[in-house]
Symmetry: C2
Subunit: 353 residues, 2 copies
DNA sequence: GTGAAAGCGCTAACAA
DNA sequence: TTGTTAGCGCTTTCAC
């Protein structure tokens, strides 16, 4: 029991089908140049014996590892898990990632990396050396971290970056932040709102600027000014409180778009605290659509961040790159954008007379 | 680039330290019988070169794979992710599992398996053959599935079963269901409640019975009857509605304990629907403590299911078993129980005069 | 189109 | 206590 071995190996299949190991290997890897007849014979043996290749052995002999790393920020992820407030970023990644991976025999492994650590590279190097993944899916803030990008690139690992367009190696997948902000703003404009305040996210997140841009574009298209309607938070509840107060005190908006759910919830609390109500006195639109805002009173209209779709796309790009890489052509930098959705709930309403 | 190789191998370390491969291997695996002097020399080379062993190679040569599978029910898990209602079972597993795994160089891979499928064994066999994990952590309903247990046992894979005490191979980790139910009941008793209704979970979940047992024990200790106070649901919201109506119509309880959050939320809705309120007219206690009940109005008092702690324990047991297994002693069946917590919120109050 | 040989990085068994 | 050898299961050469 101590020394476990593969029960059915390529050798058994080869023997059963009466062919060489190499032919079996070719069939497994769907390589061209095998007679259909052989191909079928081998396939039959594989099914009959229930053969499944060992990832370890495949990786050992210099081919793919069929492993994709999902690199997330440790502190943020652990904190989300510990709070148990419904933050489901990683869950959504798994949902999208597993879907794509399962179709091609890949696995996704969640790996947490410290952002603010001197040994960020040591941690990463350890994971890479141990697992030798074929690709890595990066999420903010890692997706714009040059050190990480360089390291992965040099190691020959396919990169898919979610939520970043910073120049660098790998695919970039954006989640339609600008479009989402635009649609949210247009939704409010349609409801007659003219003074639409915007609480931006911190500048070190690239998507903060994209969201602001979408809002500004929609406002400009409607010929409306945005001068005093923009305040900046840092994605925390506390910053949302301050931003909302600021906005309500000085800009007198009839609607507020917050750049994430925490700040939207905070805005809701501020309005409440002033004896007013949502959506009667103020409309609120949020960003991200994590579970928390479904349970707010009222449930908040939000731009849903398509994390699952983005991760699925990321995985597919990596898998495709691995496949084509084998055939020799080098992967080009590619941009992809997955659509976000505006989910209408009860926090938006036509502006008061 | 196509053919990636380990950049630093055991060979480099051996050369750098001027020892044999085997000595390096011994140091890596912390085997006894290496002179401290050598040990340090090798260790220094390892650090200097940034060497990290390849899991694939380690597994290939017949030792551990350092991989632990977290086997979950596919349908349930995917559904939780898609609904985005805050169900955080897998997240909690990762939280606990990663903690334990990280300390010993293991990784946890989430693998979804269909419960109601003829090819349940095929799916499992595929995952086992591909990954050759050292252990598997099973959650209900898999943790009481004899086919799965047998298959894993025969494959020599260490098993940790969460939420099951059905006889069979592997460690059993329970989450203090009975104790939690008892404490919840005692809490209500302390508040003066005498008629405490209980909505049980479906019988095919072992923990359903444990929860009922805890409630019965506490009631019995207080000399109270439970005859007409027990109804059974199936963990769905709909079944919760029916169960609560049933209870309120016939048993006239002043408090209800629901065996999970969905049914607790449903009970809350029923009370509301009858123009009454919680906790003024009825106290409610829930089980599991998923995010959803934090956002209920009022937030619901609940027995928190310690999934993270249970998974951590499971991973530790498996890792320890792998280590001792190497030394030859066979692992005995072992039971573990991780404590659950009663989280007091606003849905419980002293009984009306 | 197919097969035989070599080797990936590591550990188990043995020898020294 | 340390080193040597063989081989894990697979893919990559390179022959045929």
């Amino acid at each position: 029991m101590s020394r476990r071995r593969q029960s059915v190996t390529i050798r058994h299949v080869a023997a059963d089908a009466g062919v060489s190991l190499q032919t079996v290997s070719r069939v497994i890897n769907k390589e061209a140049g095998v007679r259909p007849e052989m191909q079928q014979r081998v396939q039959a043996s594989i099914e009959k014996l229930g053969y499944v290749p060992s990832l370890a052995a495949q990786r050992m002999s210099g081919s793919r590892s069929y492993l994709i790393l999902a690199l997330n920020d440790r502190e943020r992820t652990i904190s989300d898990w510990q709070k148990r407030e419904g933050g489901d970023w990683v869950g959504q990644m798994m949902l999208g990632g597993c879907t794509a991976c399962a179709e091609h025999g890949y696995r996704m492994i969640v790996e947490l990396i410290d952002t603010n650590s001197a040994n960020i590279e040591r941690e990463l190097a350890g994971a890479i050396a141990a697992l030798q993944p074929d690709g890595a899916i990066l999420t903010p803030p890692h997706s714009q971290n040059q050190d990480i990008l360089d390291y992965l690139h040099k190691a020959g690992i396919k990169i898919a970056r979610i939520g970043s367009q910073t120049p660098g190696p790998g695919f970039c997948i954006t989640m339609d932040d600008e479009g989402g902000a635009r649609r949210a703003t247009e939704h409010l404009l349609t409801l007659g709102h003219r003074r639409i305040g915007f609480i931006a996210g911190p500048e070190d997140y690239e998507l903060s600027a994209w969201r602001v841009a979408g809002w500004k574009a929609a406002m400009a298209a409607a010929g409306l000014p945005t001068d005093d309607l923009l305040v900046t938070g840092d994605f925390t509840y506390a910053s949302g409180l301050e931003a909302a107060r600021n906005l309500l005190d000085h800009a007198r908006p009839s609607a507020i778009i917050a750049s994430n759910d925490q700040m939207a919830i905070a805005s809701l609390a501020v309005v409440r605290g002033r004896g007013q109500s949502v959506p009667q006195d103020l409309s609120i639109v949020s960003f991200d659509d994590t579970p928390i805002i479904r349970y707010a009173t009222p449930p908040i209209t939000a731009v849903a961040q398509p994390i699952a779709a983005a991760t699925e796309k990321a995985a597919r790009l990596i898998i495709a790159a691995c496949a084509s890489n084998a055939k020799g052509d080098s992967s080009e930098l590619e941009m992809a954008n997955v659509a976000s959705d505006l989910v209408l709930r009860e926090s938006t309403r036509a502006v008061k007379n």
